[in-house]
Amino acid sequence: MRFIHTADLHLGACPDSGLPWAAERKQALWDAFHTIIRAVREEGIDLLLIAGDFFHRRPLLRELREVNSLFKSIAPAQVVIIAGNHDCLQPSSPYASFPWAVNVHFLSSRTMDSAVLPELNTVVHGFSYHRPIIRDALYDHLSVPQDGMYHILLAHGGDDTHIPIRLNALAKAGFDYVALGHIHQPRLFSKAGIAWCGSPEPLDRTDIGRRGYIRGEIGAAGCHFRWVPCAIAEYKPVTVTVTPSSTSLQIRQMLESRLDPDPRYLYLIRLTGSREPDMVFEKETIRQAGRIVDVIDETQPAYDLDRLEEEHSHDLVARFIRELNRPDAGDLEKKALFYGLQALLPPDA
């Protein structure tokens, strides 16, 4: 029995909204779904598992019709879906009452349910989120009957507010495979037969690294699976260490030579180091170096606070520094300190 395990497709989301390539990114999420459907069709897959967050929000009727017709097109392959925290089932949502094609099994119950697929000698267990937050460890005490069928758990979660998951407990439950969703980064536990497949396409700038789905097979020899990359885009963090002589233009030029211009790469630039106190780095200038999603300025103004305090021991500056540079000072105080020093000690004075 060959299967593909995916999750967190977040259809309908708009990554990088407001940026020039936003429409492209929105489409890429649908493209990822089409890629998976094609893979099911072309590789003779028997079972498609979708472990929650299929949609970014409650789906529209037309979206359901669209995915349903695609599912219909891959019959006799079977599809099992659960709803995750993002597309959790609300009673009035068309998601809850949609007339799916016969090969689609939507485990819409809020308690453990199963789809029995006799032709595949397989039972897929799972349930759907009916609210966005579930703190109970609902997957901790499961066990599977020894009935000669393959048992798969389709589950969504893995953090404190979305069904905490204990791998040990899951490994002992006796499933042939546990198909997890919610964590966007792929995590595979081959020996235990448990995996988060990750999202097939990165959702936002925090989704660093490559994305794809899992292809596997369950048979007499047990369950074997591997991760298959498929994402179009990839977010890459780049840290730039600036010096007091750095300017926005210099940073841009440096990045232009350093960044791979392939449009599939989207960069998140982080500026660190120390800058000239009155230097303000122009995000828009730096952004021109490529497909830059954001520029995060974490630089510190190049003040030698100890020296300043010593030098100005007779005047307000030292007291100002002492007042705002206390050990318990937060970001606000730090910022206020630098603004104040900049105003008190203008660079040309």
């Binding site: 309908g12 708009c14 909204s17 407001g18 936003a22 929000r57 409650r58 529209l60 009727l61 037309r62 009035s92 068309p94 009452s97 007339p99 020296r307 010593e310 030098e311 100005h312 021991s313 007779h314 005047d315 307000l316 500056v317 007291r319 100002f320 007042e323 705002l324 970001d331 606000l332 105080e333 910022k335 206020a336 300190l337 603004y339 104040g340 900049q342 105003a343 008190l344 203008p346 004075a349």
Partner: protein, 544 residues
């Protein structure tokens, strides 16, 4: 800090001059243009270096003012002083700009290359503005005594706001205010408003969704509709069949009715004729017309027989009459079916309406969902702007905090400085004036008052020499504030020009007794030396 000795190579009009200094009072005397101001300036540039102005003002800067006509290659000299029990020599050659600076630690016989910070410490923490505001006293440059109080006030305001002198507090606050304005302007206020509105509209949309519930399960509804349609079809077919049957019978019967009627009429006429003939017979019997009666009786019997034959014929037609009953029953059944059909089609209509309503609701709900989705997407699109707004708001909060902190510190700084100044200067003024004035009062607005016999006296009512004494007292109080542990050389430039002899004696003897550091009194008169001599106060006279 103590000046020990200085040597001028070439500086302005002065060249190759060596001056030696002791503790206590020095009178540097000479007529105008003899080089007193030059010496004054020399001391300053030896400590702080030569400021050079570029561009238009260059002609009037110190460098050009004191540029020696001869010996420009040795433009500069040496200043020797003691600080913290170590003897230092500063060598400067201004010709070669800043590179002509050498510092020697004479006690340990070594050359020093101090950082700015180390040098600053080495000259007792003096800075140029502080030096000019306290140590190096020039006479108040006022044309009239009316302006003096104002000058004095400005002086304290300046001292107060700068502390060590190089800070521009109000400028700093202005900068912070301007930055705040810029950040405020950069903030996209509409975005926040829009996000709030979108959020509200999304909530409203969700509420509208809740208020537009699907009437019932669609499958159930359409199942029912299908049932009704089937039943209607069946009924329709049944009725159709019935109507066909009725029609057929009616066709079959339509040829019978006339013959049957004829037979009935014939038998009825025969019976009627028989009755009439019997009546005639009866009348004839009464009238004893026996043959007529027999004849009538015969005819009556014949009519009866004919009637009976007609009746028999008519009875032969009873079968079609039963079929007519069936026909009536069939028609009644057909009527029931028609009614049933009517009811079914009504139900069908109702269901169709409900279904249409249902589809309408589904469509409305989908529209609402689309609208919510559009707004959610729009809200997502605002995220970046909102994040930028948040960062700007944090900046604004930081700018406010910086300004508040500056305000708080400068007011407490001044509160301590001001009250210290007031207390110390009060003591000084009492001592200097021999108790004529008991107190010096400085209010929050930097107005200065003197107290005489428990009465406040405005400065405008005082003589120039008294004002000078107040000025001196304030400056010494400042020196005391900034260097409580150190003794700093005090330079007084023509400071006693306005004083009468008694006032000079009063002030100088107080200085000799109370000022811990050296005193350098620059004067073009001999009065000060004479006063000191007659008062028996030791001093060193340096003639320029």
């Amino acid at each position: 800090m103590k000046y020990n000795r200085l040597h001028i190579n070439h500086f302005g009009r002065l060249q190759n001059r060596t001056l030696e200094f002791e503790d206590g009072i020095h009178i540097i005397s000479g007529p105008n243009e003899s080089g007193k101001s030059t010496l004054h300036a020399f001391l300053e540039v030896m400590l702080f270096g030569m400021e050079r102005v570029r561009g238009r003002g260059a002609k009037n800067d110190s460098y050009h003012r004191f540029f020696p006509e001869e010996g420009s290659s040795t433009y500069g000299g040496v200043l020797e002083f003691t600080q913290d029990d170590v003897q230092y020599s500063i060598y400067r050659n201004f010709q070669r700009d800043a590179s002509g600076f050498t510092l020697m630690d004479q006690t340990h016989k070594r050359q020093l290359t101090p950082t700015d910070e180390e040098y600053h410490r080495l000259i007792a923490g003096l800075t140029l503005p502080l030096y000019r505001n306290t140590v190096s006293l020039r006479q108040l440059q006022a044309a009239t005594s009316a302006e003096l109080p104002l000058q004095l006030r400005n002086h304290i305001v300046n001292l107060r706001s700068t502390g060590s002198g190089s800070l521009d507090l109000s400028g700093a606050k202005e900068t912070l205010k301007k930055q705040r304005k810029e950040k405020e302007a950069a903030r996209n206020k509409e975005a926040g408003e829009k996000a709030r509105r979108l959020q509200e509209e999304i909530e409203e949309g969700r509420l509208a969704l809740e208020n537009t519930p699907l009437p019932e399960d669609y499958a159930l509804l359409s199942g029912r509709a299908k049932g009704v349609a089937r039943k209607r079809e069946e009924t329709e077919a049944k009725r159709e069949r019935l109507m066909d049957a009725i029609h057929e019978r009616e066709e079959a019967l339509s040829s019978l009715p006339r013959r049957r009627q004829g037979a009935q009429i014939t038998s009825a006429v025969c019976f009627a004729a028989a009755v009439v003939l019997l009546a005639v017979m009866a009348v004839l019997l009464v009238s004893k017309n026996i043959p007529g009666a027999i004849l009538a009786g015969c005819f009556a019997a014949a009519a009866c027989l004919a009637g009976a034959a007609g009746r028999r014929r008519a009875r032969k037609l009873v079968v079609p009459a039963a079929s007519r009953k069936q026909l009536i029953r069939g028609k009644q059944q057909a009527e029931v079916l028609t009614e049933k059909l009517l009811a079914l089609s009504e139900e069908d209509r109702q269901l169709e309406m409900t279904l249409r309503q249902y589809r309408e609701t589904v469509w409305q709900r989908e529209k609402l969902e689309e609208e919510i989705r559009r707004k959610e997407d729009e809200l997502d699109g605002l995220a970046e702007t909102l994040a930028r707004n948040k960062a700007l708001e944090e900046d604004i909060a930081a700018l406010d905090l910086a300004r508040d902190t500056l305000d708080r510190l400068s007011s407490t700084e001044f509160a301590s400085f001001g009250s210290y100044l007031q207390d110390t200067a009060s003591t000084l003024i009492r001592q200097i004036t021999g108790g004529r004035y008991s107190r010096l009062l400085i209010d929050d607005d930097m107005h200065i008052l003197l107290e005489q016999d428990h009465q406040p006296v405005e400065l405008t009512g005082l003589s120039c020499s008294t004002l000078d004494q107040v000025y001196l007292a304030l400056r010494i109080a400042c020196i005391d504030f900034f260097w409580p542990e150190d003794s700093i050389p005090l330079l007084l430039d023509e400071s006693f020009a306005m004083y009468d002899a008694d006032r000079i004696a009063e002030t100088l003897s107080w200085l000799a007794e109370n000022y811990p550091g050296q005193v350098f009194l620059f004067t073009c008169q001999n009065r000060e030396a004479a006063v000191l001599r007659s008062a028996g106060i030791p001093f060193r006279l340096i003639e320029m």
